[in-house]
């Protein structure tokens, strides 16, 4: 379980170019400079690809922080 969570953080770290320890459920577009709206799309599609899931467009527009993505993943049966 912890491993997958690490997996998510690893992706976020790679895409947003920030160290893993700085990443939490509260990491958001507001408090992370590199998480621009452009990078947001890349981040989401990277997460989708690694966990083999696909989010709906109405879910995507509501994503504000990493916690939102964790909830979506849990909904898809990905245990974090």
């Amino acid at each position: 379980m912890i491993k997958l969570n690490k997996g998510l953080k690893k992706i976020v770290s790679e895409v947003l170019q920030i160290p893993v320890p700085q990443i939490s459920s509260e990491t958001s577009q507001d408090n992370t400079e590199s998480w621009t709206s452009v990078v947001n799309l890349l981040l989401i599609s990277e997460i989708e690809e690694r966990f083999n899931v696909e989010f709906d467009i109405d879910e995507l527009i509501k994503i504000k922080k990493l916690g939102d993505i964790e909830v979506l993943l849990a909904k898809r049966g990905v245990s974090l």
Binding site: I11, E14, V15, Q17, S37, V38, L41, L42, S45, E46, E49, F55, D56, I57, L60, I61
Partner: protein, 599 residues
């Protein structure tokens, strides 16, 4: 090729580009040799392009600076002369438009318009886009590359789509065709076949509706690196990074098996499954030869064994006459390839090495990293595909001379062999049975004339560089005469290798504005025969005096005394130029010698 970027391959995923970009490029560990400025304009958002293009350029050893126009404002960027695009002064501009944006109503409800309306809409759009591209071409020096439109896979008419004249799918295809036709002759504006590109990767993979509605992103992130790789193929020839010669091993590369060990009859080459793999691979190589790529052999074998297959095997596609270089011996392949490069007078950095043996490949990579050593899969049925995927053979222009290049280098090899068989220079030159043909500039030879003024350095009296348009202007003017020279000998054609441009000063005195000869025609007295013809022709026109000017450069020292040799008198000398004068009636025609002039 930069080692830091080794992990990046043709099929690398977007995230790898993203990581490398932030690791090396953002941190300014940049390649210093060469820098291209690339502009990107689009009707939609271009996400991921900056990272991918940057990484590709750096992987190929040069650096780039990228300007992405503001979202959707390609029109303003082009039509406003003060725009950031023009301030950026790009070397290349890529333009990406999407079909919905361009066709608007005609895309959404095509069949509320008549077939005639749809047809004229296509013409109108092609005209609009062409005018825009021409406007950009006129106001910048850059190469312009426009994506064609992705042909839709859906029509509301369904299976009846092509029963309708000028239906939705047809109008998009027609747009693409007409756009290509418009710029077929241009060497500034190129149409990138984006529709074909999406077919290669699958049109379903080339759209992501969520990304489209969220961000108007029309090229999904996994496709962006692949598209940028295709864009790279336009950039490489701009920097002269394209490859000109393929150096091939024989055993298990051109045929299956080892000729020194297997019987002649037992090598794999012919109509059976394994044999046709090699026949097809040879055909692919021959097609590249036909567009001007040189082929050479670099093999460790007994020469007789190898020649027997090449000359006598019934299914051998490539023959001796296709190889510009031929090294079959027991020397190191590293030594051989250097000798081939020297013989052909081309750099190792324009060569591709193909060998099935990983040890040879590793050795080549180690000794000559500038040679592109092709990573060959262990399965020979993949050879052809691997070759097809190389973008390094792309050029931005293909003249008739380029297409003949492969043949000319082979003829040059035969000449070298003939030269070493005769005892003196005179005998060699006579034995060549040279013939020259002189003709004024016309629309067929003007591109080549322009190209020669751009490229010729050694035998070039004034080193004036001209564009095609300049030559066209001269050829139409009464103030100028432009002559071209073709040469052939018993081994084959050299093609168009000489140019002489005359400029009128007075009725009886003309000045030689340009006098040049391609380096492969030097040392054969061809210039003298050429000049004799010109003098005779001028006398008939009542022109009796010729002024010749020599402008010294670092490269054109070989022709420093040419005018003296041709019988001119020096009338002015300074470090920056020497001026010579010839009274045509004093010209000694006998210096032309044994070269036949064809009228």
């Amino acid at each position: 090729m930069n080692r830091k970027f080794e992990r990046i391959q043709r099929d690398s995923s977007y995230i790898q580009f993203h990581k490398i970009y932030h690791q090396f490029i953002k941190s300014k560990e940049l390649e210093k040799n060469g820098r291209l400025k690339i502009g990107l304009l689009s009707s939609f958002s271009l996400i991921g392009f900056e990272e991918c293009l940057n990484v590709w350029c750096n992987k190929y050893g040069f650096n780039c600076e990228i300007y992405i126009g503001p979202y959707g404002q390609y029109n303003q960027q082009i039509y406003n002369n003060q725009s950031k695009l023009y301030k950026f002064d790009p070397d290349a501009v890529f333009l990406l438009l999407d079909v919905e944006h361009l066709f608007k109503e005609f895309f959404k409800r095509p069949y509320t318009h008549s077939a005639e309306e749809r047809q004229s809409k296509v013409r109108e759009l092609v005209d609009d886009v062409s005018n825009m591209l021409l406007y950009l071409a006129e106001r910048s020096e850059s190469k312009i590359i426009m994506n064609n439109l992705e042909v839709p896979v859906y029509s509301p008419l369904g299976l009846l789509e092509n029963k309708e004249n000028y239906g939705l799918i047809k109008i998009v295809k027609e747009f693409n065709t007409q756009l290509e036709d418009t710029f077929r002759e241009s060497n500034r504006i190129y149409v990138f076949d984006y529709d074909l590109f999406t077919s290669k990767y699958g049109k379903d993979n080339c759209t992501d509706p969520r990304m489209k509605y969220l961000a108007d992103m029309r090229v999904p992130k996994e496709i962006v690196p692949k598209l940028c790789y295709n864009y790279l193929s336009y950039l490489l020839p701009m920097l002269g990074l394209n490859r000109k010669c393929i150096v091939l091993d024989l055993d298990n590369t051109l045929w299956g098996g080892i000729i020194g060990e297997d019987e002649f009859e037992n090598i794999a080459l012919g109509p059976d499954p394994l044999g046709s793999v090699f026949v097809d691979f040879q055909k692919k190589l021959l097609a590249l030869y036909d567009k001007g790529i040189l082929l050479a052999i670099n093999s460790n074998n007994n020469l007789e064994d190898a020649l027997k297959v090449i000359k006598e095997h019934p299914y051998m596609v490539l023959k001796e006459e296709h190889f510009a270089g031929f090294k079959v011996n027991w020397k190191s392949k590293v030594l051989n390839i250097k000798e081939i490069a020297d013989d052909l007078n081309i750099g190792l950095d324009s060569m591709v090495f193909i060998d099935d043996d990983p040890v040879n490949r590793e050795m080549m990579r180690k000794f000559y990293p500038e040679v592109l050593t092709m990573g060959l899969p262990s399965d020979p049925s993949q050879y052809s595909k691997t070759l097809e995927n190389l973008i390094e053979f792309n050029t931005l222009q293909l003249t008739e001379a380029d297409k003949r290049r492969g043949k000319m280098y082979v003829e040059q090899r035969y000449r070298r062999e003939f030269e070493s068989s005769v005892t003196n220079m005179q005998e060699f030159l006579k034995g060549l049975e040279m013939e020259i043909e002189i003709e004024p500039a016309n629309r067929f030879n003007i591109p080549r004339i322009g190209q020669l003024t751009q490229r010729t350095n050694q035998f070039n009296l004034t080193t004036k560089r001209y564009q095609e348009e300049d030559i066209t202007k001269f050829s139409k003017s009464d103030e100028y005469e432009v002559y071209s020279l073709r040469l052939k000998d018993k081994f084959g054609e050299y093609g168009l290798i000489g140019v002489l441009i005359l400029k009128r000063e007075t009725d009886i005195t003309w000045t030689i504005d340009t006098f040049l000869l391609s380096c492969r025609a030097m040392g054969k007295n061809v210039e003298k025969a050429f000049f004799t013809y010109i003098v005779n022709m001028l006398e008939k026109k009542g022109i009796s005096k010729l002024r010749g000017i020599y402008l010294p450069t670092n490269k054109n020292i070989p022709v420093k005394n040419l005018y003296k040799e041709l019988g001119f008198t020096k009338i002015e000398e300074s470090p920056s130029r020497t001026v010579w004068l010839l009274d045509c009636k004093n010209y000694d025609e006998s210096i032309a010698g044994y070269i036949k002039i064809i009228e």
